[in-house]
Structures are given as C-alpha cells and as structure tokens.
Amino acid sequence: MGYLARNLRRNLPAIIVFVAAIGLLEVWVRSMEVRAFLLPAPSSIVGALVENWEVGYQIWPAAQTTLLEAAGGLVIGTLLGIGVALVISRWPVARDVALPVAVAINAIPIIAFAPIANNWFGVLSPNSKMVIAAVLVFFPIMINVLRGLTEVPASSLELMRSYAARPATVFLKVRVPNALPFFLTGLKVAATLALIGAVVGEYFGGLNVALGRIVVQSASKLAFEVTWAAIIVASVVGIAMYLLIVSVERVVIPWHPAVRGERAT
C-alpha cells in the first residue's frame, strides 16, 4: 500500500494538470460554441461513451474484441520475433539471409498490407487483424532479442571460456538473461504497435463491434463524440497493455538499472 501511496504522490501533478486541461477544454468549447463535429465537449464525449457502452455502438464489447486481436497479434509476432532472433544468433549465415527480409517486411506501410491481410485471412475473422498486428510486432521484438543475445560483454564470454563452459550453458546462463531487458524494451514498443495494427486492420473491414469499425462508422454519420469516445477507449487499452508489461518487468528483471531507477524515485 505504501507503494500505491508513493505512486499517487509522484503522479499527483500530472493528474491535476490533466483534470484542469479537461475542465478548460469543456469551458472553452461551450463558451466559444465550437461546433460538435470539430471538437465535441468532454462532457458530451463522456455522455456518448456511457450511452454506447453496451448498447448502440457497443464500445465495451468492441474494446474487448480489439484487445483480443491486439493481444493475439502481440503473442504471434513475439513468438516469431524470438524464433527468428534465436536462429540468427545461432547461425550467423542466417543473419545475412533473414535480416534484409526482416527489414523489408518492416518497411511495408501497414496501411497497404491491411486490406491484403483481410483478404487472405478473412475480413470478418479476428485472425486477419492479429496477422496485421503481428507484422508490426515482429520487427522490434526480433531486433531487440537479437541484440540481447549477441551483445554480451566480451569479458562475460571470456569468463565462461575460462570455466570451459559449453555453448549451450553460455546460452542459458549468460545470453538469455542478458537478452531479457532488451526483450522487455521491445515488448513495450510492440504492445502499442499491436493495438495500432488491430485498429488499422478493422478500418479496412470486419465485424462492426470493434473499436476501429466504430471510429469509421460513427465518423461517417458525423457522430464525432462517439468517434472520440472510441479513440479514448483505444488509447486506454494501449496504456493498459503497456502498464502490464512494465509490471512484468519489475518482477522479471528487478536487478536491471532501468527498473532500479524507477524504484529509487
């Protein structure tokens, strides 16, 4: 509980500024009579959110769908990224083959790939959205894990050599723990990308109970307060995924300077 209290105190200024900004926005939109399709008042966005939570646009079930797609894509992309990184770190020849391909995949604008993925994996199926998310997730995971497995201090390897340790032992006792912080850094980036991938996939078609679909449909009906509500929920889902990984990080690598630094403050 001490931890919660400390966190609250640390975040208090940010919370105050945030609440004040929302308040000012509300006052400004109402007093200047900004038209709703340009910028709806925060209160009307909250109203739309409550109204469409389970009925109407069904924002809550939509958020669950999108979260599932993003999480599925995150898992698939992460497994593929780790797998390719393992192969490349083990066989340097594979690096010369796989790295250019990986870079090329990473260079594909995801917007261009989304309709194709929808076509390949079923526009109405969550699988197509997972694939789009996975494509985005793959690269940061692969690159980070690869760095973690290969950028081991020479002195550590020399120490293991002085003990005549087998390569498999060096891998398990040095390379893997060394890669953990790199992997978690990649995972934090990837979590946000997975959500973007899922929403982009939804833009190009799918069942209507999904955040990306709500954005498209509400905007086409000029119901921008609903659009904003969906955007806010999407970002909350993204933040939740990010925070989940940060808390995993605290448990898995408490010894790492980045984690220790967070504790010290």
Binding site: P153, S155, S156, E158, L159, R161, S162, Y163, A164, A165, T169, K173, V174, P177, L180, I253, W255, H256, P257, R260
Partner: protein
Amino acid sequence: MSGDAVVSVQGVSKEFEVPGGSSMTALSGIDLEIMRGEFVSLIGPSGCGKSTLLRLIGDLTDPTAGSIAVNGKPAPQARVDRDYGMVFQAPVLFDWRSVEENVRLPLELTGNDKAARNARVSQMLELVELSDFRRHHPYQLSGGMQQRVAIARALAFEPALMLMDEPFGALDEMTRERMNSEVLRIWSQTGITVIFVTHSIPEAVFLSSRVAVMSARPGRITRVVEVDLPRPRTVETRESRRYFELVTEVREALRGSEGKGDPMESALERAAAEGGIG
C-alpha cells in the same frame, strides 16, 4: 625442471594480425617456471604483453610458438579440467545473480550435488568475508567487495592456480592496499599459486615472492626480482628499508628496459612510492 612446477612456459611467442596483413609481435621468447605455492607478479609498461601472457597460460588465446603447461598438462587440457580460476580487471559479475549465485556459477557447470555446492559457496564467502552479503546483488556492493566476490568465484573449484589480471587497477589506493592484504591472507590460507598482473610497482613488491619485469615491443621478460621480504607482510612491511630497496630495484629493472631516465624524475618517483602512490 622441477616436477613441482604449476606453470611452465617455454619459448613462447605470440603474434597478432594487424589490419593490412602484417603482424605485430606481442611476446617473444618467453620462458617462465612457477612453483607450487608461489606468488609471482608480471609487471611492465602497457603494451608489454603481460595480460597476453596471463591469457596464454589460461588458454584464453593461443601461442604462435612455444609450449605452455599448467599442472603438468597442456594449457587447453588444464582449462577444460578447471585447474585455474581467473580474476579480471572488471569483476565480471552477473547483475541478475545474487552474490552467492555468482559464486555458485562455476559449480553449476558440473554435476556435483546441491548440498556440497552450497557448502562450498558458504565456505568461499566466509573466506572473502562476505557471508553477510550473500543475498545482495552486485550493484549493491562497492568495487572492492565486487572484486572479492570475483575472487571467491575464481576459487570455487579449489583450483591449484589463480590468474589475476590487474584485479585492483580500478580501485582507489586505500581500497587497493586493503585488497592486497586480503589477497595475501587468502593466498596463505589456501596455499594456492598466484600469477598477478599489475602496473603498480609497490603492489607487485608487497605481494610477490618473485616479480617478473617485462619490456615492450616485443614483450620479453627482462629480469626476475626475488622478493625476500619476510612474511606475513603487514603495514610495517610497506615502511621497511628492504621494501624500498626492492621497489627501487624493480623500478630500475623497468627503466633498464627502456634506457636510463633522468635522476630527478627517479627521485620524484621514489618519493611517490614512499607516499604509497603507485
């Protein structure tokens, strides 16, 4: 010569390839015999190959010519048999392991049973006087304490030989002197043979039974100074007349390998040594 040589280096030279296709001679014609229980320091200017010689003995690199025997067997076999423990200039501890887990690391590489392993770790931590810090992580320790963990780890296999590559080079002078006494205590308690690379003359003289003085380009052993200071060596040792004589002898041997320096500089350096500055 003797059957009791722990390390026998004969006619060893080492060349490194340098970019452009040519090669650089790091070591040339090295002969060195180290007896069981000796404490031998390798001292010389940077680039004289003293660390390279240590790494050759540890089979961390291969000689271009000559032969190296450790415990009566070729160096590669001795490494595989874990006949030596190595302490590097940096402690090389793993952040993700606690102090005791770091010391246990080498023991995990063999199939010995858990109870024996943990008993050995406790024994080693007692030896370096870190039993109270067994559950700490490396980042919670000072530089000197980290290096003591590294020493405990190097001794985990009860090796006949400990190779130390400028282990206290990164420590401040006060800590270094404390660590010197610590190493001598461990050395006399365990009866281990030590080869110690350093660039500090006072450190080499204080610790060693023999100091091998090396010169650079190409790296050779130019002189071996016998250190006949009585043991146990204490704070008083550092203030004795014989200690200063030996420091001067080693210094002059080092200088001899580069030509005579001017007397004024020499006097200043002696004063520095008397003040305990390396």
